[in-house]
Symmetry: C2
DNA sequence: ACGCTATCTTGTCAATGGCAAGATATGCTG
DNA sequence: CAGCATATCTTGCCATTGACAAGATAGCGT
């Protein structure tokens, strides 16, 4: 693959990869289009044609992220069927695709009205809520709509853990992010559920 | 207060306030030192003297944020004594001091080695863990060090909820952030504890 | 009264994002 | 295969920005 068609081959992909690498290294704030162009060996204005804009590039990156996250969650749900492991998969995606994940939740960096982005975001949301819907109904203490609250709680817990881990705010540990996340997520699931 | 000493009066404070306002509006990425200077009515190089650097300014902002958060948590613990309300206070701080909160967890934006910053961060950490220490010991299902896990879970939950709320990712609701956070945090606390 | 220092200004430079105009290669059509 | 249309990329340019250096100004202590 990646035959040398056109001048570069697959510049769009190369730029997205370079952006992910750069963001993982130094954060989204330090990202420079011209630097990406240099890394890819093209002129400083080449990225414009593919993404139009700096926010445009990050829109593409976020879209890719939501799609990948949706796939990871769906696969975990299919293979394990465990609600807890769904949370672990969420954290695992965040830690293994740091750049994508960081951009995804920073709407001020990209074009929130992009159609492909909205579709991908919805994919991810569906994958998430599919797991919540698996939960036994009388799950929480109170009755009624507590499934919605339980889903929000689990999402918040996984998301918060991932965020804190990525920002380096969590106390040092020798555990992998997976293991640590599992132990913490159990605090929410172990009270009522199996798995 | 704010007597017109020197040329401006209290430029440092004015710049921090302007920065908080600008970040709350458009996010940290769009922040411009020169724009802050214009808002404060001073020359474009004036901020340099007070903060040295753009990361320097954000270091000051983050430090202020950690101090304020520590105070808010400590007061909530003193007045309510409730672990749940501590989480609510965390979310309330995030939503009412959006700019500070966003910068605090973005170490790539400021000078992580700053002494004042480290002190303030530790203050906040202490205030948080003081609340965790209040928890009854046989709190969770398993034995032993589960208090640490419970603390991490609560922190992650509150932090994740706050982050998702700020990024606009949560489904629309008519509740205030406080109410919504309380309902979600209860998912973690209602199983074993009172309050 | 005198100097000292913190505060702020003016001037400058390299780097960046974005735009416009042009060059080049690829693919399509007949 | 010839010729045109289009996607891809380049060169050149401009306003803005962060950072630095050097100078001006104002309040303070002695």
């Amino acid at each position: 693959m990646a035959k040398e068609r056109y001048h570069h081959g697959d510049l769009r992909r190369a730029l997205l990869d370079a952006a992910a690498a750069a963001i993982a290294e130094s954060g989204p704030a330090a990202l420079s289009l011209r630097d990406l162009a240099r890394r890819a060996g093209v002129s400083h204005a080449a990225p414009t044609h593919h993404f139009g804009d700096k926010p445009g590039l990050l829109t593409a990156l976020a879209t890719e992220g939501f799609t990948q996250l949706a796939a990871a969650l769906a696969e975990t749900r299919a293979t394990t069927g465990s609600f807890l492991e769904l949370g672990v998969a969420y954290v695992r995606y965040a830690t293994t695709h740091r750049a994508h994940f960081e951009v995804m939740w920073r709407p001020d960096l990209y074009h929130g009205d992009d159609a492909a982005l909205a579709a991908a975001r919805e994919q991810a949301g569906d994958a998430l809520y599919a797991g919540v819907a698996d939960l036994p109904d009388g799950h929480a203490g109170a009755g009624g709509e507590s499934v919605r609250e339980a889903g929000l709680a689990a999402w918040s817990l996984a998301h918060g853990f991932a965020t804190l881990w990525l920002s380096g705010s969590l106390p040092q540990t020798s555990e992998t992010p997976d293991e640590a996340a599992r132990a913490v997520l159990r605090q929410l699931t172990d009270r009522t559920d199996r798995t």
